[in-house]
């Protein structure tokens, strides 16, 4: 008679740095699992068969989650072996697990449909993925595995240009390199990584870890050309002459700004400018680093997505009091629950149902207050399922000497305008079911086709495009 497995309902917690310590620096907040607790958490998994495991379906790149958890459990007495086997399973589908384990909204993806979540806490998949990647990196296990993967790469004789070194482009490049293609990435900024580098702060994704992840590119033979602005430095037509195919992963990096009076006042930042100064340029280390950032005592962050949380928590670490002002309610916020929770713990204040109508400046042209209209929710919902809101005609003015606008991003126009792609009115590229754009041989994915979405969806597109590019090049060569 089969013994019914005993379910452990509660997840094994991961330690976090105490609030009073972490708000003074940009060091990572969550400390992650050690091997013993990782195995304990992995043992909670009931091992649904991969054919229908809901967690795999929930993951945009379909990592064999029960498979890697099983690998951890099977060698509980040999951590190195356990991690190596687990990482091998992960790498089949995702080559940036240290990143995704940290920044994915697992509660909406792999962890949302986890069967264990119906009876207790879902398996802590993100933190386990992160553990495998971190342990492997610290022990050099990823190096061994990389050699293994590299050996299996058979040169196909094809070459691909990837535009943009963000999550979509990196994934596409790594997948193509694994298939044996010669890949060159063209990146406009001076560092690869895209939003992982300039957008997501150190306290969520340490840049040293990101850089180690990026070293895989070189080890798999991918060339990265920084300071190349495709559309200006080199055109799509020129790339098509030199490469068999092109992948566009240029993201959605143009900030939406509020079209209200006072937008040009001093100390009103787009979240992108603020975060780029802080993360990419390390302005929090001024004057050791040359890039300045001017931040006052009272900061208002407008918006309630992940970008808003990142900006708010960064401003707090620069010594400011921070209030997040959002036009809808608490339950409408789009940021990850974990990040909202962290922000609250760290002392970020929240104001709901406020829409900015004017920025008020002082005699020196610096912002000193924001005038808001109070909003009221309706029963009706918009197409994204959020409650609609209407103005009440009542106003409130909040003092602030710094304002950060985090109301969203749209695709950059340089490339679309320079190359004549078919694009949607919002600037996103039109693609077919194989992610091919209106220009044959040019594929696209990530925020460039979705508008502002998530890191993991961009990675999913990069992976899908890599398969389509492989098929396209093989077809092209067969016809030639």
């Amino acid at each position: 008679m089969a013994v019914k497995p005993k379910l452990i309902k509660e997840r094994v917690p991961t330690p976090e740095r105490p609030v009073e310590e972490r708000v003074k620096s940009f060091v990572e907040v969550n400390l992650g699992y050690d091997f013993a607790s990782a195995v304990k958490e992995a043992e909670r998994c009931i091992q649904c068969p991969p054919e229908y495991a809901p967690c795999i379906k929930g993951c945009p790149v379909h990592i064999n989650i029960p498979g890697f958890l099983k690998a951890l459990r099977e060698n509980a007495d040999n951590p190195d072996e356990a991690v190596k086997n687990a990482l091998r399973v992960i790498w089949n589908d995702n080559t940036l697990p240290a990143v995704t384990g940290r920044v994915c909204p697992q509660e909406d993806q792999c962890e949302a449909p986890c069967v264990m979540g119906k009876v207790g806490d879902p398996i802590n998949i993100g933190k386990l993925e992160r553990f495998v990647a971190d342990y492997a990196r610290e022990k050099g296990i990823d190096e061994e595995l990389l050699c293994e993967f590299k050996e299996s790469c058979t040169g196909t004789g094809g070459s691909v240009a990837v535009v943009g070194a963000g999550p979509a482009g990196l994934t596409c490049a790594l997948e193509l390199a694994k298939m044996g293609y010669k890949v060159t990435i063209f990146e406009a900024l001076h560092e690869a990584g895209g939003v992982l580098m300039y957008g997501i702060p150190e306290f969520r994704l340490p840049k040293d870890i990101l850089k180690t992840e990026l070293e895989k590119l070189e080890k798999l033979g991918v060339e990265v050309k920084t300071n190349y602005i495709v559309g200006k430095t080199v055109t799509i037509e020129e790339l098509l002459q030199e490469y068999d195919a092109v992948f566009i992963g240029t993201g959605a990096g143009t900030p939406k700004l509020l079209n209200i009076p006072g937008i040009l006042l001093d100390r009103i930042y787009s979240a992108n400018e603020f975060l780029t100064r802080v993360n990419l340029m390390k302005a929090y280390l001024f004057p050791e680093y040359d890039t300045p950032i001017a931040i006052g005592k009272k900061t208002i962050v407008i918006g309630a997505g992940n970008t808003a949380m990142d900006a708010a928590r960064s401003a707090l670490r620069l010594g400011s009091e921070v209030t997040i002002a959002y036009r809808r309610g608490r339950e409408d916020m789009t940021a990850r629950i974990e990040e909202i929770h962290h922000a609250e713990e760290e002392g970020v204040k929240f104001e709901f149902f406020l829409t900015p109508v004017e920025f008020i400046g002082d005699e020196n042209g610096k912002v000193k207050a924001v005038k808001f209209e109070k909003m009221r929710p309706l029963e009706e919902r918009d197409k994204r399922g959020k409650r609609k809101i209407v103005g009440t005609g009542e106003y409130v003015t909040l003092e602030a000497d710094t304002v950060i606008i985090a109301i969203g991003l749209e695709p950059n126009r340089i490339l679309v305008e320079a190359s004549g792609f078919k694009a949607n009115p919002d600037g996103t590229l039109v693609v077919d079911e194989n992610l091919m754009t209106s220009i044959p041989g040019v594929f696209a994915g990530g925020d460039a086709i979705r508008g502002e979405a998530t890191v993991i969806l961009a990675m999913g597109d990069g992976k899908k495009a890599a398969k389509a590019i492989d098929a396209y090049i093989k077809q092209k060569k067969a016809n030639a």
Binding site: T226, Y228, I229, V234, L257, Y269, P292, A294
Partner: protein
């Protein structure tokens, strides 16, 4: 990919000439476009303008005015043969290349180095170009080059009065600039005025040009970070709309620019800029003293 400095020289007081290997920029750059340079590991990104280039040999010339920490550190620490970490570009829109007719192209201080490639191309296209350079006496640059490139090059220099502080000295340049522009516009008919220089001087000149009703284009220099349209640091109001100078400009119709806002925005980091400069000078002096011992 680092970019090698092939040549470096001080061509005038606080004006440094760098000829740099940057084939990706040299191949594509058009007059009016700029690059973003990051010279040091912990450095900032600053916008500079290729003044000359050779597409075949793959080099560009940048001329910097030593204005703060980064430009001073470049002048002090970079030698021919050294490499600049990052040069991204070309960026921004090329200047409009049309037959406008008779053009007055004005450069205040080191702004003339940005006028040079544009004025030269306009002249080659069949325009009748007069360039006007107004600066301090020891800061004259590109005089011979401009005399050769355009129909007429006018140089107006202002002495530096050692008894006055720098802002007061700069007012003398502004005064001379305004006087000279008025004189030129009164005595001759121009179809277009173009200017590169500090925002305050641009506004002062624009106010004169406006009286004559002549079209005017301005090259705007707001603060930039990425230079590719992803942050909006360089935003300006043009014709009541918010524009990003790095992707919509840097050239705009002077009649449509909100000058007051632009002038205010260019001073946002003055305190921190001074602090960076002071701390750097302190370190530099210590290093110099250390070297002498």
């Amino acid at each position: 990919m680092p970019y090698k400095i092939l040549e470096k020289k001080e061509i005038a007081m606080r004006n440094i000439w760098y000829r740099i290997h940057a084939p990706h920029v040299a191949k594509k750059v058009q007059p009016g476009q700029f690059v973003i340079v990051r010279a040091f590991k912990n450095g900032e990104r600053i916008p500079l303008t290729p003044v000359m280039w050779d597409r075949d040999e793959g080099w560009i010339v940048l001329i910097t005015f030593i204005r703060g920490k980064t430009t001073m550190r470049m002048a002090n620490e970079l030698k021919p043969g050294d490499e600049i970490l990052n040069i991204a570009g070309p960026l921004g829109n090329p200047a409009e290349m049309e037959k406008f007719g008779k053009i007055l192209a004005i450069g205040a201080y080191t702004g003339i180095v940005e006028v040079y490639p544009i004025a030269k191309a306009w002249q080659e296209l069949g325009n009748e170009v007069t360039t006007l350079h107004v600066t301090f006496e020891p800061m004259v640059v590109l005089k011979d080059e401009l005399e050769e490139a355009v129909g007429r090059h006018i140089l107006e220099t202002v002495p530096i009065d050692p008894n006055l502080d720098f802002p007061t000295n700069m007012k003398n340049v502004t005064r001379r600039l305004v006087e000279k522009v008025r004189e030129l516009l009164e005595n001759d008919e121009y179809d277009m005025v173009f200017m590169v220089g500090p925002a305050g001087d641009q506004r002062a000149v624009f106010n004169v040009v406006k009286e004559f009703g002549i079209p005017m284009k301005s090259d705007l220099h707001p603060i930039m970070v990425d230079g590719t349209g992803m942050c909006g640091a360089c935003r300006v109001t043009v014709d009541g709309e918010v524009k990003f100078a790095c992707i919509d400009g840097p050239e705009f119709d002077a009649y449509k620019v909100n000058w007051d806002e632009l002038i205010a925005r260019s001073g946002y980091y003055t305190d921190m800029e001074q602090r960076a400069m002071q701390e750097y000078m302190k370190l530099f002096e210590q290093a110099l003293q250390g070297g002498e011992q």
